[in-house]
């Protein structure tokens, strides 16, 4: 069984937000409008956080692209009262929009704030949307799925063409869109995959690793020039 993971090289990230825009287009993420944005209700499954470097205060900014970290021990799935969010066997933390009762416990429990809520009916089904991704109704929680529909599509294509599925066929929109190639995606359980090799790099670290959530999005610190 594959274990999907992502490595984000902070040395390469320019903070250009291409991943954010690609994600929004791919996953039918609603534009909430100016009024809602001012009330801090922007939905952005992939979000680029900025942090001032503590050693060079005020001089250097650090960009941290943050999708859902797809924890192996997710604090959000534990607290869901209705099984609307769970970790699937391939390590992707899924969200079932039709099941969610909107209690927002998972949002309160996620230490990475990767979950977003539909405060209003932000959009209905219409032209120009990605037909592979369902449009979320009001009152439910949503989050990054590692573009799970792309995995399903790649599997189906392999099946139709009567060949084995190659993990390299499955890449989420953010990784595909990254011009600096800072985002590498693949199967962490395969030791020879690029993502598994990078995850073993001495530069590798995880966000809030001490919490024991075992995120499958791994970051590479900047500094040692491409390492």
């Amino acid at each position: 069984m594959a274990l999907w993971g992502m490595v984000i090289d902070l040395d390469r990230c320019t903070g250009c937000q291409a991943c954010v825009m690609a994600c929004k287009a791919e996953n039918n993420i609603p534009a909430v409008g100016e009024k809602e944005a001012k009330r801090e209700r922007i939905i952005s499954w992939m979000q680029v956080l900025t942090e001032t470097d503590e050693e060079h205060h005020g001089e250097k900014m650090r960009f941290i692209p943050r999708p859902c970290l797809q924890c192996d021990d997710p604090p959000c799935t534990k607290v869901c009262p209705v099984y609307a969010t769970y970790r699937n066997p391939e390590g992707i933390v899924a969200q079932i929009y039709a099941r969610c009762i909107g209690c927002r416990f998972c949002m309160a429990a996620c230490p990475y704030n990767a979950k977003y809520f539909n405060w209003h009916t932000y959009q209905k089904e219409g032209p120009g949307q990605n037909p592979d991704v369902s449009v979320r109704p009001k009152g439910v929680v949503e989050k990054c799925t590692f573009c799970h529909h792309r995995l399903q599509k790649a599997r189906a294509r392999a099946l139709a063409e009567k060949r084995d599925f190659d993990p390299r066929e499955y890449v989420p929109a953010c990784a595909e869109a990254c011009l600096a190639q800072a985002i590498v995606f693949g199967d962490l359980s395969d030791p020879v995959s690029e993502v598994a090799k990078l995850a073993r790099s001495p530069r590798a670290f995880k966000l809030q690793e001490e919490l024991g959530t075992k995120p499958k999005v791994i970051y590479l610190t900047e500094g040692e020039g491409g390492g």
């Binding site: 809602e36 009330r39 801090e40 209700r41 922007i42 939905i43 956080l49 900025t50 942090e51 941290i64 943050r66 604090p75 534990k78 607290v79 869901c80 009262p81 209705v82 099984y83 609307a84 099941r99 969610c100 009762i101 909107g102 209690c103 927002r104 416990f105 949002m107 309160a108 429990a109 230490p111 990475y112 704030n113 977003y116 809520f117 539909n118 405060w119 209003h120 009916t121 009001k138 009152g139 439910v140 929680v141 966000l207 809030q208 919490l211 959530t213």
Partner: protein, 443 residues
């Protein structure tokens, strides 16, 4: 036998027998916040939670605060009345019923806050069909439903003799009272059965009550969030709950004392004892708060400190210091000496404690969410008219339920008062057995 309530206890039946103009005024007055709340909720139901002030990252606000607060108030009753009953405190007699009614009414209000908080109330059934015990919310559901059933039973059982009095003497609603009186005639055997059942319930209700607020605290402490993930949250919440419960009980007692002329039943001595209990709880609450914040401060984890300073000097300072003022400074000043102006002082302290405990719940829920671990911009939460309306409506609904209850059942237990009067000899004998020398002589 039990069906003659002549003379002194006539006052207790009057609110049920007659309805004055004051009642209609009170209902009219209470219907204002209730209508406001109903309007707020219907707007929210159709528009979605977007009409509230909630946002990313403060996804929980007034509703969850109200939930914790109201469930806390519910500890007034049953717990206090059970403890006083078990410890055979004679001064409990005019108080127990009022306390138990608070519990039952406020539990429904508290539990419905969760329904109001849901983004998809239409899918509430999912909790029953697809619930999972992994989630602390389901612990809440189990524990609160047990508490509801237990406190309803615990309210109902000691009311049976009084219902029989109403059945025999009131003349109206005869069918209603006859059904609920379960054929009570006050024989010795019936009294034995009832007393045994009440004793069992009093014992059972205490652990259930403690479990309820522990489990409510677990909703927060089971997460990994800074200043929520704390082992003392269980007892801390229970102490706060009893604290706010006593305050609510005192306020209800003073209101009905005035409205129904119960000065002969609720004397300054009752308020003095309850005031002392409130003072003890204020000190205990302060101790827990101190322990909780000191460990956070001394450990000085950056994420914890961020939330800590947000409460102490940051954007939440008015709420935090308001809480300290209401929960500690004012009650201490009011309750240290209760020789003079007992009722006034106890009432002041109680009103402050109710406000303070609401602030305490708010200051636990919101600042942690406002200051996430990762470098997000901080999110400050401002409630809209919807949340204010829902909150006002909840308080109004609670008061209305309470008022309606007093129109159907006596708010002070008639038979227990009478038992107290008739049992003076028994109490004296019991007191004598407490004394070492005399007891030895007797045995």
């Amino acid at each position: 036998m039990a069906d003659t309530a002549d003379g002194p206890d006539q006052t207790l039946l009057r609110p049920i027998a007659e309805t004055g103009r004051g009642f209609y005024w009170a209902v009219a007055l209470l219907s204002i916040p209730i209508l406001w709340g109903a309007l707020a909720y219907s707007v929210q139901f159709y528009e979605g939670l977007g009409v509230t002030g909630l946002h990313q990252p403060v996804s929980w606000g007034f509703y969850v605060t109200n939930f914790v607060f109201f469930i806390g108030i519910s500890h007034a009753g049953t717990l206090i009345s059970a403890i006083l009953r078990l410890s055979k405190a004679e001064w409990r007699r005019p108080i127990t019923r009022m306390a138990e009614v608070i519990t039952c009414m406020v539990l429904f209000i508290g539990a419905s806050q969760i329904l109001v908080d849901l983004g998809r109330p239409d899918r509430l059934l999912n909790v029953i069909l697809h619930g999972r015990y992994q989630s602390p919310l389901l612990w809440d559901a189990t524990s609160i439903s047990a508490y509801m059933m237990a406190s309803l039973t615990y309210l109902y059982l000691p009311m049976i003799p009084d219902i029989a009095i109403l059945r025999d003497r009131l003349g109206k609603r005869k069918l209603f009272y006859s059904v609920l009186a379960l054929g009570w005639t006050g024989t010795e055997r019936q009294q034995r059965i009832l007393n045994r059942a009440i004793a069992i319930m009093a014992v059972l209700v205490i652990p259930i009550a403690v479990s309820v607020h522990s489990v409510v605290s677990f909703v927060f402490s089971m997460t990994l969030q800074p200043m929520w993930h704390s082992t003392i949250f269980g007892p801390y919440f229970v102490v706060g709950a009893i604290f706010s419960g006593i305050a609510a009980l005192i306020v209800a007692m003073i209101i009905f004392r005035k409205a129904y002329g119960l000065q002969h039943y609720l004397k300054p001595i009752h308020f003095r004892y309850l005031g002392q209990l409130l003072l003890v709880m204020a000190l205990l609450w302060f101790y827990f708060t101190f322990a909780e914040y000191l460990t956070g401060y001394y450990g000085a984890e950056p994420e914890e400190l961020k939330v800590f300073w947000a409460k102490f000097t940051g954007p939440f300072w008015p709420f935090f210091w308001g809480m300290v003022l209401c929960n500690f400074v004012v009650p201490l000043a009011c309750l240290v000496s209760l020789k003079h102006h007992t009722v006034g002082k106890v009432l002041t302290a109680s009103l402050f404690v109710i406000v303070g405990m609401w602030l305490e719940r708010f200051i636990i829920v919101v600042p942690t969410l406002s200051f996430p671990r990762l470098p997000f911009p901080e999110g400050i939460y401002w409630p809209t008219w919807v949340e204010w309306g829902e909150t006002a409506g909840s308080f109004g609904l609670f008061a209305l339920f309470y008022l309606l209850f007093t129109k159907f059942f006596p708010i002070i237990s008639i038979w227990e008062i009478r038992e107290g009067r008739e049992g003076l000899k028994e109490v004296e004998e019991r007191l004598i057995t407490y004394l070492p020398d005399e007891a030895e002589e007797r045995t």
